[in-house]
């Protein structure tokens, strides 16, 4: 299958008075059609920044310093705003964490979905409205025909997130960037939304970039996982490999620190220290001050992603290890 999204050596920088901060440092990965790729990492690892760069919504003064973002083989990182606006919504749909702030409180949900459809597709308003009702039904909103004229505040959190998903799918985009879509929701609602997202992506064979810090959600949803640390990719691999056979020492620590209802442990694995600030990223491997397995080289040279069994890890431990 072809790559819907390709990110090549993407760097995002923030110029500040005290020098330039590099928020994303040579991030590369790709997503194929119909594939769900999970992007995980702790706060500040650059997950959301990657998502924002793809949809062209980096907060100024942040800017793409180098690298390329390709959608279906076409570069989209250097497009003017007017062209990017046509791609956003039409070819890339976005779902954000807080469904209340992603909807306009002054318009009915039906109007907002119909507006998106008429903007991007050759539909009349009446046709777009019918399509909006279908979309709301597909996302599991009961009595969609009545609820279409309701305002966002009349919906509960879970229902609002369904509206946002309907909105993201409205113009049948090829790529959906979902940034923490279930974090603001209760577990019981979370399960419903995840199921819905999976089902709709299968039906529309859309590529999905699922940004979350919840490994449980990733385990159930994603096909492949990108683990990020301090603005860099630490590991990429199939979901089962990353969860059950992690390669990068950071991923090993991360997996061990998650409490599970299937295991009885007196103590959780903990990674001492915390992620470095952007202005103090250590030389060499960014993880080296917290790493139990570091050696001289880690302090000097920055590791690239290298093959580690069936995954890829940015760690010198795997240099020259042929598999």
């Amino acid at each position: 299958m072809s790559n819907v999204l390709e990110i090549k050596r993407l760097c995002v920088e923030f110029p500040t008075r005290r020098g330039t901060l590099r928020a994303l440092d040579e991030v590369s990965f790709d997503i194929k059609a119909g594939e769900i790729v999970g992007v995980v990492g702790e706060s500040g690892a650059g997950k959301s920044m990657t998502g924002a760069a793809i949809i062209g919504l980096l907060e100024p003064p942040g800017r793409i310093a180098s690298g390329e973002i390709l959608l279906d083989g076409r570069r989209i990182d250097n497009l003017p705003d007017a062209q990017m606006r046509k791609i956003r919504g039409r070819e890339i749909g976005a779902i954000f964490q807080d469904p209340l702030t992603s909807l306009n409180p002054l318009y009915t949900v039906g109007h907002q979905i119909a507006e998106t459809i008429t903007t991007h597709l050759p539909y009349s308003y009446a046709q777009a409205r019918e399509r909006a009702i279908e979309l709301l039904e597909a996302t599991g909103i009961p009595a969609a025909r009545q609820r279409i004229d309701h305002y966002p505040h009349q919906f509960s959190g879970g229902m609002r997130q369904r509206v946002v998903i309907a909105l993201a799918l409205a113009a049948e985009p090829k790529l959906i960037v979902a940034d923490e879509p279930t974090t603001a929701l209760d577990v019981s609602i979370q399960a419903q939304i995840i199921e819905l997202l999976k089902k709709l992506c299968r039906e529309h064979s859309a590529a999905v970039m699922l940004i979350t810090h919840d490994m449980g959600v990733i385990a159930e949803t994603a096909d492949r996982v990108v683990v990020m640390y301090a603005g860099r990719v630490a590991e990429i691999g199939a979901v089962n490999d990353v969860i059950h056979n992690p390669k990068h020492p950071y991923t090993v620590g991360l997996m061990g620190s998650i409490p599970s209802i299937h295991r009885h442990t007196e103590r959780l694995v903990q990674i001492d220290g915390s992620m470095p600030r952007l202005n103090a990223i250590p030389k060499g491997c960014a993880f080296n001050p917290r790493c139990q397995r570091r050696f001289d080289r880690c302090l000097q040279d920055r590791p690239e992603l290298m093959p580690a069994e069936s995954s890829q890890a940015a760690c010198w431990l795997y240099e020259g290890v042929t598999t």
Binding site: V187, S188, A191, Q192, S260, Q270
Partner: protein
């Protein structure tokens, strides 16, 4: 059950909030008063050295329960006893001593520390309020506490903003421990933290419990965290406890349909691609809770009696340590198999 009296006894506690429209509007439009029953008739006990966790979805009353226990809200009905003494005393002349024995850790370590105070002053604050220590002794105690939670004594010169979320939560813990309390109420202490940092904080809390013999009430919406820390677990739904059981029993044999649904809804690291059984529906509006058993609109087992009568907490015959409020369990209807 042990013979000693439990440290914490909660008997039929209730907290209602008056959310009525303003008086004039109410009189003009003839509306009655509206009460939000955030906690409505909750009873449980916590033994010394034990961790009881309360879980439930947002709006089920778990945080209100935490605040009731430390006296931040007065009770509308019922009683809370700490070591045999009512927390109504907290506001009386003997309240100070009782207040020393219960401390609280809040969810948001960014909002619960004064940004203008140095860490040393933040941690020494309860010492000033509750002890006669000289400034020198206070400083020694602060050093000791910082070491206990894995920070450096030199950190007392710094301000909260100079610390990461996990370190701030440790400062909160140090402050709570300053006056050597017996009972700590922890309201979602790790939900604002990343997993690797959450692991650090949970490990410290467990170590401290072992060293100091602390008793915890641990409020969380994360069942995996609860499974890790708790000895017993209470499940809340719309202001009531629907099931309370020892941890292993609850996770291995959940009885209440809501508990079963919650457990099957946990994202599972082991089963890739497994479909969860999504809980149908959503938490109803607490201002107009459903009649009878408040869970009946979402319950696959619901029958007519569930719509009419609210079930009482009962102890099922096969396990004395479990309490569950469900007509289906009480009357032993045919067990319906839940997909899990």
């Amino acid at each position: 059950m042990t013979q000693t009296t439990p440290l914490v006894q909660v008997k039929d506690a209730a907290r209602w909030f008056d959310v009525s429209a303003p008086w004039l509007e109410r009189v003009l439009s003839g509306k009655p008063r509206t009460m939000l029953k955030a906690v409505d008739g909750v009873s449980f006990t916590i033994n010394r050295g034990e961790t009881l966790a309360l879980v439930g979805e947002s709006g089920c009353g778990k945080s209100t329960m935490a605040r009731l226990l430390v006296g931040l809200y007065p009770l509308t009905r019922g009683e809370v006893l700490i070591d045999g003494r009512s927390i109504a005393e907290l506001h009386g002349p003997q309240g100070k001593d009782l207040r020393r024995r219960l401390q609280m850790i809040f969810q948001d370590p960014y909002a619960s520390l004064n940004p203008r105070w140095r860490v040393g002053r933040i941690i020494a604050e309860p010492l000033k309020a509750h002890t006669n220590m000289t400034p020198k002794e206070q400083e020694q105690r602060v050093d000791e506490l910082l070491l206990q939670v894995g920070l450096d004594p030199a950190d007392k010169q710094r301000y909260p903003h100079q610390f990461s979320g996990g370190q701030r939560q440790r400062i909160s813990i140090a402050r709570a421990l300053a006056v050597r309390p017996e009972f700590l109420v922890c309201d979602e202490p790790t939900s604002a933290l990343d997993v690797s940092v959450q692991a650090q904080v949970l490990n410290i809390m467990k170590d401290l419990q072992r060293q100091l013999g602390l008793t915890y009430l641990f409020i969380s919406h994360n069942l995996a965290v609860v499974h890790h820390v708790a000895d017993r677990v209470g499940v809340m739904y719309l202001g009531r406890i629907v099931e309370i059981a020892p941890r292993d029993e609850l996770f291995a044999h959940p009885r209440h349909p809501y508990t079963r649904m919650l457990i099957s809804a946990i994202p599972d690291m082991e089963g890739h691609g497994k479909s969860r059984t999504p809980v149908a529906g959503e938490v109803p509006n607490p201002l107009q809770p459903p009649s009878g058993c408040t869970f009946h609109p979402r319950c696959p087992l619901a029958r007519d009696i569930c719509k009419q009568q609210s079930p009482k907490l009962i102890r099922p015959a096969d396990n004395e340590e479990v309490e569950v409020a469900c007509h289906a369990v009480e009357q032993q209807w045919e067990p319906v198999s839940f997909v899990s």
